[in-house]
């Protein structure tokens, strides 16, 4: 935790993840056509946009897993694709969408996997790693699952386990693909509260998220992707508007204020497509 709480200067790139002019895709299909963004320590950045806008691909590029055709990704000021695998995993932690596994290892073991990048090859995980992994499970509210097999958990439980694994990585940058999809509202709030706490402790968090209102409640800034380009980005209070949302999702919402927090929330209107 000490590494995370350390404050950084404004010009310092430590703990910052930054993508510049990313063009990326798959053979015969371009998904991202020149995307730039940055997330700084203490910041939660929401990645929004319709299905197929390129959110997941962008997360994979940011994670250093999918090599872009052009453009650069830097973490701590260093090219992500020039880092060694372990080095990269010590700086960036990724929480995947639900994954299919034929054989499930135990939850405790999955959390311990977060320590792989820190534990040298021959000696394996040490007692300290076990402790950090156990702490991470507690923090993510998954300690009671430790002895269950990953493959027998519900979607929400699995998510907590993957978040615990990411916490165990002790990386300053966290990337999440749909942190709360398939979770009930209380679970979703819990998980995002946890992510916000991590931000307060100095983590840079990027979440790809479909739920606009949840994003508005938690994200400091938002990046809207559409057709592989950044359609809008900025502080949540600025970009979360009727016009921006209507332009991106092709349906016009009504905006209301959250009665307790005063944050804008979007309400969608059935049959509203024709109004435009």
């Amino acid at each position: 935790m000490t590494r995370m709480t350390r404050m950084t200067g404004t010009t310092d790139t430590t703990g910052t993840i930054e993508a510049v002019d990313i063009v990326a895709g798959y053979p015969g299909r371009e998904v991202l056509r020149g995307v730039s963004l940055a997330a700084r320590p203490g910041e939660m950045l929401g990645l929004l946009g319709p299905n197929g806008a390129g959110k997941s691909t962008l997360l994979h590029v940011l994670a250093g897993i999918h090599k872009p055709r052009s453009g650069t990704v830097r973490v701590d000021g260093q090219d992500v694709f020039a880092l060694g695998d372990r080095e990269r995993a010590r700086r960036i932690a990724v929480v995947p969408q639900r994954i299919e596994i034929p054989f499930g290892p135990r939850v405790a073991t999955v959390a311990l996997m977060g320590r792989y990048a820190h534990a040298p090859g021959f000696s394996g995980y040490g007692p300290q790693d076990e402790e950090i992994a156990a702490d991470a499970l507690r923090e993510a509210g998954a300690a009671h699952l430790a002895d269950r097999a990953l493959s027998e958990l519900s979607g929400g439980e699995q998510k907590r386990v993957f978040i615990a694994r990411a916490l165990a990585q002790r990386a300053r940058v966290m990337l999440l693909d749909e942190a709360s999809s398939g979770l009930d509202p209380a679970r979703a709030i819990e998980i995002h509260d946890l992510l916000r706490r991590k931000c307060r402790q100095g983590a840079a968090v990027v979440i790809a998220i479909h739920d606009l209102n949840l994003a508005a409640l938690y994200c400091d800034r938002m990046v809207f992707l559409k057709d592989g380009r950044v359609a809008a980005q900025g502080a949540t209070a600025e970009v979360f508007s009727k016009e921006v949302i209507a332009g991106i999702y092709e349906t016009t919402p009504e905006l209301v204020r959250h009665p307790r927090l005063g944050i804008a929330q979007a309400l969608f209107v059935p049959g509203a497509d024709g109004d435009r």
């Binding site: 994979h60 695998d85 596994i101 394996g124 493959s151």
Partner: protein, 362 residues
Amino acid sequence: MTPRPMTSADRPACAHTGRPALFAVLAGLAALGLASVFLACLFGPARVPALAAARVLGGVFGGGASGADPTLVTVVRDIRLPRAALSWLVGAALGLSGGVYQGILRNPLADPFTLGVSTGAAFGASLAIFLGLSSVPWLTALGLDPVPLAALAGAMAALAAVIALAGTGGGTRRETLVLAGIVTATFLSALISLLKSLGEESVAGIVYWLMGGFAGRGFGHLALFLPYFLVGLAIIARYSRELDILALGETQARMLGVRAARVRLYLLIGASLLAAASVAVAGVIGFVGLIVPHLVRLVLGSEHRPLLAASALLGGILLVWSDVLARTVLPHGAELPAGVVTALLGGPFFCLLLRGRAMGRA
């Protein structure tokens, strides 16, 4: 021929034993394995009293020269002990190798022979038999049996071909690997058939070798097998931690800092060394590599370290007793191939298992 389990039947039961219990299970299996090897020395066409056999074995390990009957010493020490030890180690190698293959290919139907290693070995052995290498004087003078050596070479060559083929077809993706294995195996099977049809006098030898077994295996085979066993074991032990991570998929593994493609290749080579050496000394013995990891998974769950350790130990025990059965079930010292015994026992047993699980779920 072999009934394959359904994927859906492969979800691990929720039984995950704690560490002390796990340790007890592994220690028990190890003790049972050693006991099996010694007990196996009592069985065979020649009657050996248990006490006399124990004295001979005590002489082997204690070093104390006992005045035992020399024929008895020959039977127990020079024939049965190496054979039992070999069957134990081969069983362990197959169980281990099957567990690793199922893990890296993320496929519950994979076994040590999925990538064509066995067909490569069979082709090597068939070629050696076809060319009559067993009767080449200078080879036999050196005390070398060319058939297992040729089998080993064939297995390694097949593995190299599969990896090269998969590499040209877009990296070592799982599907590409399996496909390359099938292509290689099919091609080599055709070549074996060709050899059989060309050399009529070697057909019997080839067929007999293909059935697999431990008849006439001794210290020479043990010496040939052991180095490959140890190297394969070391590779797998070194990368067993990564195996759990790879089971979540290559992307996940890379995100956690694992050099996924490279580690998978190492594990593949480790598991294939075990499979190749097994085939070289004992022919193609089916079922152990497929079933034993499944059985273990039902009890211990899918975590690879306990899974592989228990699969090795259980595979060893299974094959020791299969071989005992193979050499005692027929009268007058006639033998069944051990591969036939494992398949005959394993098939119905696995059907029962599947049925039990299906009923348990309903």
